[in-house]
Symmetry: D2
C-alpha cells in the first residue's frame, strides 16, 4: 500500500513499475519500454536478474500494462483496438511450440461485481477442448482450450489452487492463463488498465485475501496472468489524491485504523467490469486462436 511509500524502499521501487520507463531502465537488471499498440499506451518492464528482482520487489519476468481508457471514453473502434492490443501483447508470452492445450482460469466471485471479472472473462472466451476431442474432423486444427471458474474460498470451501491443480491433472495443458481482479494502488488505474505478466499470480489479492501463489512452480506449467484493478483501498485512494493535490500528508497509518480495510469501487463498476471481461475474453481467444478476429469470436460465442 502506498501508505508507507516514503520508508519502504522495495515498495517504492515497485511503484516505479508505474512510473517512467526511462527511470526504470536506470535500475540494474531491469529494462522498460513505453509505446503504443493499436492506439493503447503500453508499458513493458522486464526483470532480468536477481538484482532486478530485489530492486523491483517482484520475481524475474515480463510485466506489461495496457491502458484501456479509450474504452471508457468511447473512442472510435476502442473495443476492437483494445482487444487487438492485449492479444498482441499476450501472444509473445505464450510458450513457443505448436498446438499444445491451454487452461484458462477466471478467479473471483461472480456475485460481487468488482470481483467478477475472471468468471465473466471465461464466459467470453472461445473454449474448444471438447470440440477438438469429439469432432476432430471439423475442429482438429484448433488449439484445445479449457476454461474453469473455480469460485472463491468463502463460497466453495476450496482454494482456487486446489481446483486448478485438479483441472491441470486432467487437461494436461502446455500453459495456463489466469485472470483475476486486482487491488489498485492508484485511483487512476481503476478499471482502466490490464496488467499481463508471466511470473504467476497470487489469487484473491484483488479483494484483500491473499492466497497461495499460482505459478509454474505450484502448477507445473507456465502461467500467464491477466489482472484488472477494480477496487482501491480507501486509505490508498486518499493518499493518492492528497499527493496529486500537493497537499500536506497526514499519518496515513493512523487514518487506516478507522477505514476498517474498506475497499471502494466506482459507482459505474457494473458496466466497466462487463466491458473489460469481454475485452479480455476476446483478446485471449484471438491470442490462442490466431485464425480468429473479434467478429469470429462473437460468432463463436453466439
Amino acid at each position: 500500500m502506498a501508505i508507507s511509500k516514503r520508508t519502504d524502499l522495495a515498495l517504492e521501487a515497485r511503484e516505479l513499475l508505474q512510473e517512467s520507463a526511462e527511470a526504470i531502465t536506470e535500475i540494474d537488471g531491469v529494462i522498460a519500454r513505453e509505446y503504443k499498440r493499436h492506439g493503447c499506451p503500453v508499458t513493458r518492464v522486464e526483470i532480468l536478474s536477481e538484482a532486478g528482482e530485489q530492486a523491483m520487489g517482484k520475481p524475474v519476468g515480463t510485466y506489461i500494462t495496457v491502458e484501456t481508457q479509450g474504452l471508457m471514453r468511447h473512442e472510435e473502434d476502442a473495443f476492437k483496438r483494445t482487444v487487438r492490443a492485449i492479444a498482441d501483447e499476450l501472444s509473445p508470452l505464450l510458450p513457443v511450440g505448436g498446438m499444445y492445450g491451454v487452461l484458462l482460469a477466471g478467479l473471483g466471485n461472480r456475485d460481487i461485481t468488482p470481483d467478477a471479472i475472471g468468471p465473466l472473462a471465461m464466459q467470453n472466451s472461445v473454449v474448444t477442448r471438447h470440440l477438438v476431442d469429439k469432432m476432430p474432423e471439423e475442429f482438429g486444427h484448433m488449439r484445445p482450450v479449457a476454461a474453469i471458474s473455480p469460485g472463491v474460498l468463502g463460497t466453495t470451501g476450496m482454494e482456487s489452487a486446489e481446483l486448478i491443480q485438479g483441472a491441470i491433472q486432467h487437461v494436461r495443458p502446455g500453459a495456463a492463463i489466469i485472470i483475476d481482479a486486482l487491488t489498485s494502488r492508484r485511483l487512476s488505474r481503476l478499471c482502466s488498465t490490464v496488467q499481463i505478466a508471466d511470473s504467476g499470480i497470487v489469487p484473491g489479492s484483488g479483494v484483500g485475501n491473499a492466497r497461495a501463489a499460482l505459478n509454474q512452480k505450484t502448477l507445473g506449467v507456465p502461467v500467464i496472468s491477466i489482472g484488472v484493478p477494480t477496487v482501491v483501498d480507501a486509505v490508498t485512494l486518499m493518499a493518492d489524491l492528497t499527493e496529486q493535490a500537493g497537499q500536506p500528508e497526514p499519518d496515513w497509518s493512523e487514518i487506516a485504523k478507522f477505514s476498517g480495510g474498506l475497499m471502494v469501487t466506482p459507482k459505474e463498476i457494473d458496466t466497466q467490469v462487463e466491458t473489460l471481461a469481454r475485452v479480455i475474453g476476446y483478446a485471449v481467444s484471438i491470442a490462442l486462436h490466431p485464425e480468429m478476429d473479434a467478429d469470429d469470436v462473437q460468432g463463436f460465442l453466439g
Copy 2:
C-alpha cells in the same frame, strides 16, 4: 459536502441532524429524540418553524433515521425486526383518513447497483390497485397501491418528475412514497441507515445529478421519501476518516479538484442493496396493508 463544514454554518447545522438529539433540541424550532424500535436505533428530528428551517437548512417536516447495521451483522431476526421498525416509523407519516390509494415510485437506474435500490424496492412491494379494481369481491378491502420505476434521465430522456406526474394524474392517489438512493455524507452510514422524511425529495441526489424536487407542491399530494445512502463522495470519505483519526486536515477543496467527483461504493454493494431493497419493500407493504406481516408479503410476492 463536509469539505466546507468549517465555514458554512447552515451546512454545519445540517450535519447536526446526525449528531446528538440533545444538541439539536437546543435549537429553536427543532425537536429531536433518540430511541430504539424493535432493536434498531432511531433518530427522529422535527423541524417545526421557519427558525428551525433556517437553523437546520431543511424544510419544516419530520426526519427519521433508522439504523440497519444489525442486518449486515446478521443479528438474530434482523430482517424482520428492521422491516417492522421501518414500517412502524413510516405509518404515522401517512395522511390519516382511510383507504386512499398510494403511488410508490422507485427512483434510480436499475442497471447501476448503488442506484438500483428504488427499482428493486418496487419489485418487493405489494401492489394492489389492479386487484382492487378488477376483483373487488376478493380485494376490495385492501388499499389500492400502484408502483412506478421511472428510470433515469440518461436512459429515458425524461425527468422522473414528468413520469410520476403522469402517473399521479391517472392513479389520483392520496399520497406518494418515493424511494431513492442517497449520497452519504459519512462512510459509516453507507448502506446502514434508512432515512424517512415527509418533506419531499430531490431525485438523483444519490448519484450527483440533482433534479427538480418531488414534494407536495410539485406533485399535488403528500410525499413521503425513503432514502438509503449507497455512495459516498471520495473527498468526503477522506475528510470523514481524517477527522475520525484526529489527523491534521489538508485543504479538501484542493484535493477535490483531483477526484473528478468520484463517487465510491463498498465492494459488497450488490448484496447490501438487494437486502435493503427487500427490507424497504416489505416495510412499505406492511405500513400500507397493516393486515399483513412479513410472511404474508413474501407469500403475496411469490
Copy 3:
C-alpha cells in the same frame, strides 16, 4: 389460436399473413410481397381497404415480417445485417416531415425472460431528448427520442396505456414506437422473426393477458409496433407439429382443457431474447438517427 383454424375463416385468413405472398395478393384489398433485405427474408403485407380488413382480420395498415434465423445460426455478419434490415423496413413507416420527437415504449416484465424483450430493447436504444434539450449546441441536430418501460399491470397496478399516455402528454412526440413480446402461432417463428406494423398493438398479448389497444386513436400519435414472438401456447405447439408431420389431428379443444393455458418457451430463451433486444434497439436507433451506424450506437450506449 390455430386450434380452430378449420372453422374460423377470419382466423384462417389471418394465418395467411404467414403464408405465400402470391396467395395473399389474390385477396381483394390486400397486396403482399416477399423479398430479401440484407440477406434476411422479408414478407410485406399491405391491407388497403375494408374488404382487405375483413378478409385478413386486421386493420388497414402495413405488416412486415423480417426473419432473423441467421442470428441463431451465427451466419457471417448476421447481427449487422439484421439490424440494417429492420432499420430499413422501419424507416418508411415513420411519418414524413423532419425532426419531430419520438417516444419509444418497451412493454413487458423485465423479470420474466420471454416477456423482457421490450424493456431490454429500451436499454439498447439511443435516447437523446435530454441531450437535445440541455446541450443544444452539441446535440441540437439530433432527433429528440425518449424511452419508457412501463412494466406490467401485475407489478405496477397500472395499465401500460396509462403510463404511456402520461409520457406522451409531457414529451409531445410526433410518433410512438412500441416494442413487445408476442405469442407465436407457430413454433418455427419463436425468437426468429421480428414483426413490424403501423396499425398499433394490443399489449400483453405476448403472455396471454390482452389489454386496451395502443394505436393512433388511443394515443393521439402515429404508432409503429415491433413485436417478437417469444412464447407459444402448448396446444398450438402440438397442433403445429402434428400438422407438419401429416398425422391425424385430435380434438385440440379437448386437449386444451388439460394444458391450463400453459405457455412454453425454448430452453435457450435467455440468450435469444438478449440478442433480439439488442438487434431491435440498434435498428430503431439507426432508423431514428440515420447519421448513425451500428458501431456508433454501440459507442453511444457505452
Copy 4:
C-alpha cells in the same frame, strides 16, 4: 421418452416409479410407499435386488420424490415445510458415522435458466470446509462441507466428472451430493417435484446431453443425487396432454421428427428455478448441519 411407452417394457416399468405405490410393491424386489412429510406428498421406492433392477430399469437404490406444488401455490409456510421435508428425506440417505466431510456439486449452466438450478443451489448452501480448517476453535464442531459448480462441457471444455474427481482428490469427502436439472417425462412434474436418489446421476440428462455417470463407482464415495425436472421434451408434452384428454394418439415418433428435439419450459421459469434452488440449498444445509434451521441458514448466507 413416453413416446414408445406401449412397446418398450423396461421404460413402461420405469414409468411406474411415478405411478401408484401399491402397483409398484407388487413387483418382485421393489418396495414402494406413499406418505406426507411436513405436508408435502412423498413417494419412496426401494429397489432391492437384481429382479427389481430389471423390472424398474434402474440400479438398486432408494428413489424419493418430494412434491413441491405448495410452493407455487404460495401455501402457508410452504417454504419452510418443503425445506424441512427434503432435509428429512435426505438425512437417512447420508452414510452413517459422524462428521466426515461432504462435497456438494451443482451441475449445469448458470446462464441458461432451466439448467441453473445446480449452481444456484450452491449459492444457497452453507459451506464450511475452510472455516473448520482455519478457525477450528469456532467452527471445529461443524461438518466440513465444500461446494463446486463445475459448469458444462460447452463452456468449460471439461466434463463435470473430471472437475468433480479433481475436487474429490483434494477434499477427500465421505460422501458427495450432486444437484442437477432433469428432463421431465410429464408436464405435471415440471418445477414441482424434487427427486432424491442414492444410486448416482447422469449429468446433463436434464438438457439432452447425457454424460458419463457420477456414482460411487466413478467417484469412489457414496453419491446422493437431487434432481429437479425443469424442461420437458415438446413431443412428450404433447403425448402427456393427449393422454390426459383421452384423445386418440397419433404416431408420436413421426411427430418427433419435426420437433427438432425442442425442449420447452414454462414462461415463469425464472422465479421457479430461483425458489427451488433456495429450497434445495437450505434443505441440504440443514441435513448436513442438523444444528441449523432455515433461519440459521439465512443468517449464515447473509
